[in-house]
C-alpha cells in the first residue's frame, strides 16, 4: 500500500517531464505569488516591530482620594513597584506635589502658606514598557483597570495615544491583509489547477483505461494530486528563498539616520504558514481539477 502510494507519486512527478514548460512556468508563477505575499507579510511584520517597539510604553498618573491613609498609599506604591513591565514609579506626597507645582510656576508661585492645609492629593507617576511579544489585545486598558481597582485610588489618567496608535495599525493591517491573502490564494489556485488540468487532459487515455481495468478513483487522482502538491511546495520554497535573498540585500537599506530601521526576516512560523498555505491551496485546487 505504501509502496503503491510512492509509485503513484512518482508517476505524478513524471508528468513534469511531459509538459516541462507548463510546469516550470507554474512553478515560477507560484514562486512569484509566494514572493509577493512574503513581501507584504514582511512589510507588515517590520512595521509592527517598529511601531510596537516604541509604542509599548504607557504612562499612568494615579491620584488617591484625600481620605486615603498615608500608610495605605505607601504600601500601594510598593505594590505598584513590583508590577511587571514597570519602568519607573515616582510617588508624590501632597508636599512633594506642592514643591513640584511651585517649581513649575517658578518664582511667581509661593505656596508656603498652603502647607498646613494642602489641598493636593497623594499621586504617583508610573511608566510601563511592555515588550511586543507580551502585548495582548487591550493590554493597556487591562493595566488601567488594574490600577483603578486599587483601594483608595480616585482617578487614573493615562497617555493612551501611543498604545491606541498601535492598536489602530493592527486593525488596519488586518483589514488589508485578508483581502490580499484571499486574492493571492485565488491566483495560486487558478494557476496550479490549470496546470494539473493540463496533465489530466494529456493523460485522459490512461485515466480511461485505468478505470476500465478497475482502478479506484483515488488511484487515478493521487499522481495528479502529488503533482500539484509538489508544485506548491517547490514554488513556495523558491518564493521564500527569493524573499530571503531580497531581505538580505535590503536589510540595511533603511538602517540610516534618522530611521535606523533594520529590515528583519519573517519569523519561522510565518514562513512555514506561508509555504503550508500555498501548498494546501495547490493541493486543493488540483484535487478540484481532477474531480
Amino acid at each position: 500500500m505504501i509502496g503503491q502510494l510512492f509509485r503513484l507519486s512518482g508517476r505524478g512527478l513524471a508528468d513534469f517531464k511531459i509538459h516541462p514548460w507548463a510546469h516550470l512556468l507554474t512553478l515560477v508563477a507560484v514562486a512569484m505569488v509566494t514572493l509577493l505575499a512574503g513581501f507584504i507579510l514582511l512589510s507588515l511584520h517590520n512595521i509592527n516591530i517598529h511601531l510596537l517597539k516604541s509604542r509599548g510604553e504607557v504612562q499612568f498618573q494615579i491620584y488617591w482620594r484625600s481620605d486615603a491613609s498615608p500608610e495605605l498609599i505607601q504600601t500601594q506604591w510598593e505594590k505598584i513597584g513590583t508590577m511587571e513591565y514597570l519602568q519607573e514609579i515616582k510617588g508624590f506626597t501632597p508636599q512633594d506635589a506642592l514643591v513640584e507645582l511651585a517649581e513649575t510656576l517658578g518664582k511667581t508661585g509661593d505656596f508656603s502658606w498652603l502647607k498646613e492645609q494642602n489641598p493636593l492629593p497623594y499621586s504617583a507617576l508610573t511608566s510601563f514598557a511592555v515588550p511586543p511579544e507580551a502585548q495582548q489585545e487591550g493590554w493597556a486598558a487591562d493595566l488601567l483597570t488594574k490600577l483603578k481597582a486599587m483601594d483608595g485610588v480616585a482617578e487614573v489618567h493615562y497617555t493612551p495615544l501611543q498604545a491606541d496608535l498601535a492598536k489602530g495599525w493592527r486593525v488596519i493591517s488586518r483589514a488589508i491583509i485578508w483581502p490580499i491573502i484571499g486574492f493571492l490564494g485565488m491566483v495560486v489556485a487558478l494557476v496550479v489547477g490549470n496546470t494539473i488540468r493540463l496533465s489530466l487532459l494529456t493523460r485522459q487515455d490512461e485515466i480511461e483505461i485505468l478505470s476500465l481495468v478497475g482502478a479506484r478513483p483515488w488511484y487515478v487522482r493521487w499522481p495528479l494530486l502529488t503533482g500539484g502538491m509538489v508544485q506548491g511546495l517547490l514554488g513556495s520554497a523558491a518564493g521564500v528563498g527569493l524573499l530571503k535573498l531580497a531581505q538580505n540585500a535590503l536589510a540595511d537599506s533603511l538602517n540610516i539616520a534618522p530611521l535606523f530601521i533594520e529590515i528583519r526576516f519573517l519569523p519561522m512560523e510565518q514562513v512555514l504558514a506561508l509555504c503550508g498555505a500555498v501548498t494546501l491551496v495547490s493541493a486543493i485546487s488540483s484535487w478540484v481539477a481532477v474531480r
Partner: protein
C-alpha cells in the same frame, strides 16, 4: 455468472438493444454474433459498467447492474476481464507496462506481478517484445497485448469484443486455443464475433445471435423471425 432480464438500451431515440434475456452459468462460453451495428458492443459495455443500465435487470459476477453505484464499478471491473474492440492500450508504454497495469491497480506486490505478467506475455508469443513500446507493434500484436491484459488477472468472466478481428487464421486459432484453455479452467467467456472460424473453434459454445438490437436466436432456438441471412 451473468443473468440478463428484459434489458433494453437506447442512444437518444434509437434503440440499440431491445428486451434482451439470457443467462450464463459458471464456466460457460457464449458467442455474441450479428452484423455490425447489431448491438454486440453495446451489450458488452453494459455488462462491464461502461454504460448505465437504464431498463431491465442484469447481474454480473454478483453485481446487480440495475442498482450499481458508481463506487462499485471498480469492484465489478476487477472481477471481469475485458478485451476491447479498439484494444485501449497505451501506445507510449511498453507491452509489459500495459499488461502490468491491470495488476497494479489491484495493488499486487511487485515480484508476483512480474512473474504473472511474464507468463501471460510468453503465452501470447510476445516475450521478445516485452519492452517494446506498443506504438511500434503491428495491429495483431497490439490485440494480443489487449488480450493478455484481460487475462493476466485471472478473471471469473472474460468479455471479449471481436478479439481476433484483425488476425490471420493461424494466429486466430492460436488465440482461440488460449481462450479455450481459460474456458476449461472454469472461466466464463462472452465473445462477440462475426467470424465463422472463431465460432467453429469452440463447437460446444452457446450462441446468442443479435439483429438490430434484438435476440433472434439463442442456443439454436429461434426467438424471433430473422429478417436477414445469418452471415
Amino acid at each position: 455468472m451473468v443473468e440478463v432480464q428484459h434489458l433494453s438500451y437506447n442512444f437518444g431515440s434509437q434503440w440499440a438493444l431491445k428486451d434482451i434475456n439470457f443467462s450464463l452459468g459458471k464456466g460457460e462460453f457464449l458467442f455474441l454474433t450479428g452484423h455490425s451495428g447489431a448491438g454486440k458492443t453495446t451489450l458488452l459495455r453494459l455488462l462491464y459498467g461502461a454504460l448505465p443500465l437504464t431498463k431491465g435487470r442484469a447481474t454480473v459476477a454478483g453485481f446487480e447492474l440495475h442498482r450499481l453505484k458508481r463506487r462499485h464499478v471498480p469492484g465489478l471491473r476487477r472481477r471481469v476481464g475485458v478485451v476491447f474492440q479498439d484494444f485501449k492500450i497505451l501506445p507510449r508504454r511498453s507491452v509489459f507496462e500495459n499488461v502490468a497495469m491491470a495488476l497494479e491497480v489491484r495493488g499486487m506486490a511487485r515480484s508476483p506481478l512480474e512473474r504473472r505478467v511474464r507468463a501471460i506475455i510468453r503465452a501470447m508469443g510476445l516475450e521478445t517484445k516485452s519492452y517494446t513500446l506498443c506504438e511500434r507493434l503491428s495491429g495483431g500484436e497490439q490485440q494480443r497485448v489487449a488480450i493478455a491484459r484481460s487475462m493476466v488477472t485471472n478473471p471469473e468472466l472474460i468479455l471479449a469484443d471481436e478479439p481476433t478481428g484483425n488476425l490471420d487464421f493461424d494466429l486466430t486459432m492460436h488465440l482461440m486455443d488460449i481462450f479455450k484453455q481459460f474456458h476449461t479452467y472454469g472461466t466464463s467467456i462472452i465473445m462477440a464475433t462475426h467470424s465463422r472460424e472463431v465460432l467453429e473453434a469452440v463447437p460446444d459454445a452457446r450462441i446468442l445471435h443479435l439483429e438490430q438490437g434484438r435476440v433472434v436466436e439463442l442456443d439454436g432456438e429461434t426467438i424471433m423471425e430473422s429478417e436477414e441471412e445469418f452471415a
